[in-house]
Symmetry: C2
Subunit: 225 residues, 2 copies
DNA sequence: ACTAAATAACTGACCGGTCAGTTACTTACA
DNA sequence: TGTAAGTAACTGACCGGTCAGTTATTTAGT
């Protein structure tokens, strides 16, 4: 690995008083990643050539290898760049909340749903799922940096809700699938099969419908006891 | 397209009185597809060579082209072979059922969950999702032959349940995501990221947990009125 | 002997990665 | 201010390898 993207340039001089002579790079890795994201998303990883990425980023193939040691490193860089904010978002919302988890879940689902409208944001997870077989190390990175942080937090949130008697006695780990699965399926249907509800993506309606069922389903069953 | 696979060979003689043993064709297309399924599943479409498929099926690359006009035709043949039974299964269960949809949903989810244990069955949908970008015509075939038949039937099932007052007033089309999404997410997490609940895939526990929440969530809200 | 089945060798295009060379900028010095 | 020296940034032709698809030939069943 050589660089991967690091925005550490300030116009003001630093301490070593030998700024040498920076040329006009620095923004380049990010530009390359932008181009790669666009092409990988549109045509898939293996059907995109490094040359195409270079052209789109406005430089030559050789220069791409100045910044990234391999084609796969492009994918890795892409994931890494998108990964931190997403994971942090989820964790920030959940934090160490205590009480009825439903407001937090509503917020989380709402955030995800609204993000799904922005292709830039969700292109990376889609890419990861699609290319995980050919590049297992990418899947693992994604897992380590996103899932292994976000899922335990969600599990805790739900478990805590169950213990506090705020929601039905469900399996916290499995219930995560019930919370996020419908969103994922919606995404897959729309992206892979172009199956959308009548009026566009309708993500707000989806979130509404889903949360209505989910929250009613999570209602504790005290009436039965 | 030349053949695509057709299992019309029975050990008992047919009408043309030719029980002799054909050199060794007839079963070949299916053997090739079996090999292709295995390799495509394990290594992805583009990273699998036709030669590898041929070797695994016990013949030469040239022979593969005797049965299939192109590499993509292998994928198409795979989809077509798996598609009819799946779609029929779903439609058979739903039929033109009237009444509370929940028993039917339970049966459907149960069938899907139990099928997910068999890699042979779910390898094809997984493949389709993964390769849909590089081979849109495959995705479309899958859509036309499976989804466009199964989804409307499910929509009808739910709509009918709403009208009959058996379940809450939900959006039938969107509720499909709430029914099947958790299963899909479970599959993706397990297959792509190797994230499984403690004790294996736990598909029955997943189905249980999911249906508990779902059915409670679908309960009509007469108490509120 | 005839023919369908099967093959192995071949071809041509493609692509990831390399590297010798060029360009454009910075600095040093007059 | 001008210019020579120095170098990071960049280029694009090229190499080695791979692979989908073709074809000339061999093999085996009748």
């Amino acid at each position: 690995m050589k660089c991967e993207s690091q925005k550490t340039s300030s116009p003001i001089a630093e301490k070593p008083r030998k700024p040498k002579f920076r040329r006009r790079a620095e923004a380049r890795p990010d530009e390359v990643l932008d181009a790669a994201l666009e092409l990988f998303t549109k045509r898939g990883f293996s059907r995109t050539t490094v040359d195409q990425v270079a052209k789109r980023a406005g430089l030559s193939k050789g220069s791409v290898y100045l910044y990234f040691p391999s084609k796969k490193a492009l994918l890795a860089g892409l994931v890494r760049r998108a990964v931190v904010p997403v994971a942090n978002m989820a964790l920030g919302v959940i934090a160490d909340y205590r009480g009825d988890p439903r407001p937090v879940i509503r917020q989380l689902v709402g955030m995800l749903a609204s993000n799904m409208n922005d292709p830039k944001v969700f292109a990376v997870p889609k890419l990861v799922i699609r290319e995980a077989v050919g590049a297992p190390e990418i899947a693992q990175m994604y897992r380590e940096e996103v899932l292994d942080r976000a899922l335990p937090a969600m599990t805790r949130l739900i478990a805590q809700g169950v213990e506090g008697g705020h929601i039905r006695k469900v399996d916290p780990e499995l219930t995560i699938r019930s919370i996020l699965g419908p969103l994922m399926m919606h995404l897959v249907m729309a992206e892979v099969f172009s199956i959308k509800p009548e009026g566009g993506l309708a993500l707000d309606r989806l979130a509404d419908n889903h949360l209505t069922i989910l929250f009613a389903g999570l209602e504790p069953e005290e009436a039965r006891l």
